[in-house]
């Protein structure tokens, strides 16, 4: 009790000052403090929604430099409508939900805090119905609703800040704030490393529920995962996705466990295959 109280005090000190205390005693405790930091979520000051959006915009703007936007306006609008519809069935329907398809062959999708979601053309072309697209987008929406990236960015930022002796408080209000820029840059790098595996499993669980609530055949996400399961790990454009996510078979096992109970009652929900095929046909024939 006494020790943890001291660590809290140290953390509080870290939180409130921009200068590293020079006392030797502090240095000794720093390692301990880092370890505690992981579990001490209260040490991380929650951002306001406005700050979260500013952070997400910075990350999304960085992600935009990965590849050009797909030039097919109809497909872009279509993906936005599917995604927006699903977002309305989450607890955060009023975020500025925005979706973009990047013209890249890699198979991937990313969610930035505040409601910004990026999907690759490579991913879109692996899908067979609107329900599968809905499943993939719902998984990404779940990351944002549950603040997975936001929390990871904040906690890694807190570690960096502590290491550098900077304030742990991330104030995203001033857009030119150096700390925000650092957070955005560190946050973007995180997309190359991936989230905690538990966050991915949680997004799968939330994703199938959001798809069902939106009236889609909720087996779209597992169907997409089975497609991914059928792709070899050395296929080009699939490596990063595999490195940053749990194995498709583990994800499918979880969905099997949770959906076998009563998701059969959704068996009559549509997979909206025709609309998907019609709108993405140009893309497919262009390949």
């Amino acid at each position: 009790m006494k020790t943890s109280g001291r660590i809290s005090l140290i953390l509080a000190g870290l939180l409130c000052t921009t200068h590293l205390a020079a006392e030797p005693q502090f240095k000794l405790d720093l390692g301990k403090a880092f370890q505690t930091l992981k579990s001490a979520k209260s040490a991380i000051v929650p951002l306001t929604e406005e700050e979260e959006i500013a952070l997400g915009q910075g990350v999304a703007s960085n992600l935009m430099s990965l590849a050009p936007l797909l030039a097919d306006q109809e497909v872009q609008t279509y993906v936005n409508r599917v995604g927006r519809w699903i977002s309305l069935h989450s607890e955060r329907p009023d975020l500025p939900w925005t979706f973009a398809v990047l013209d890249h062959e890699d198979i991937n999708a990313f969610a930035a805090p505040g409601g910004y979601i990026v999907l690759t053309k490579g991913m879109l072309l692996k899908l067979r119905s609107e329900a599968e697209l809905a499943g993939v987008l719902a998984h990404e929406i779940a990351h944002i609703v549950r603040k997975h990236h936001l929390n990871a960015i904040q906690s890694s930022n807190a570690k960096i800040a502590a290491k550098e002796g900077l304030s742990l408080v991330m104030d995203a209000k001033g857009k030119t704030d150096e700390r925000l820029l650092k957070a955005i840059s560190a946050g973007t790098e995180m997309y190359g490393r991936g989230l905690d595996k538990d966050d991915e499993f949680e997004s799968d669980r939330v994703g199938v529920v959001l798809a069902a609530r939106s009236g889609y055949d909720p087996f779209g996400l597992p169907a997409a995962l089975q497609t991914l399961q059928g792709i070899t790990s050395d296929s080009s454009g699939f490596q990063l996705m595999l490195e940053t996510h749990p194995k498709p078979s583990d994800r499918l096992n979880q969905l099997d466990r949770i959906m076998s109970k009563d998701f059969e009652r959704f068996d009559s929900l549509p997979d909206v295959r025709n609309r998907f095929e019609r709108i993405t046909s140009r893309l497919r024939s262009a390949k």
Binding site: G58, A60, S61, N62, M64, S65, L66, A67, L69, T77, N80, R81, R84, W85, L88, P96, T98, F99, A100, D103, H104, E105, D106, K121, S185, E189, M190, Y191, G192, R205, V209, A212, R213, S214, G215, Y216, F219, A223, Q226, T227, Q229, G230, S236, G237, F238, Q239, L240, D256, R257, I258, M259, K261, F263, E264, F266, D267, D271, R275, R284, K287
Partner: protein, 174 residues
């Protein structure tokens, strides 16, 4: 009688043809755990046979939680999550697309195209030191749909909202 016979032959030919076509387009899957092959995609449909673990089969189509499969000479429906999809080099669900995408990769390679849509995949390093692209981000923001737009879009396909609580990892309500 004769006519009936001809009709039958025609149907056989058609069936063979469609079998060939679907064999080309089929995905290969393996039975991950023993499952019942049903005549129709319903739990209370007649059971045609029990599929043994590790049996290989062709997947023809999906209907919600059911996959239409061909196991040896029998076609029926099996729960999709009792199947495992084996990794194949150019596997893709829709083999039509995979063939095309494979071809396009070859084409891109041989034409020496320098577009960013080439075969080079992203890696961890791709995300280090990315700089913002405000122009593209502005364009992205323009793509956003509003609620009423999304609502009308859902109505077009008669999507009906459902009640479903969030689930924990064990499948219980959260």
């Amino acid at each position: 009688m004769k006519r009936q016979h001809r009709h039958f032959l025609f149907l056989c030919a058609l069936a063979t043809l469609s079998l060939n076509v679907s064999a080309q387009n089929a995905d290969k899957a393996t039975v991950a755990r023993s499952a019942e092959l049903k005549a129709q995609p319903f739990s209370d449909a007649a059971t045609l046979k029990t599929l043994a673990e590790n049996q290989k089969l062709d997947v023809l189509s999906r209907k919600a939680s059911w996959m239409e499969v061909r196991a040896q000479d029998m076609t029926g429906w099996v729960k999709m999550l009792s199947l495992r999809f084996d990794a194949r080099a150019e596997s893709v669900s829709n083999s039509d697309n995979s063939a095309k995408s494979f071809l396009s990769l070859v084409k891109t390679g041989s034409s020496g195209s320098t577009t960013t849509t080439g075969a080079k995949g992203w890696s961890k390093e791709s995300f280090a030191n990315l700089s913002p692209n405000p122009d593209r981000f502005e364009k992205m923001k323009q793509l956003s749909s509003n609620k009423s737009d999304a609502d009308a879009f859902a109505k077009q396909e008669n999507l009906k909202e459902q009640e479903q609580a969030y689930l924990n990892a064990k499948g219980g309500a959260q």
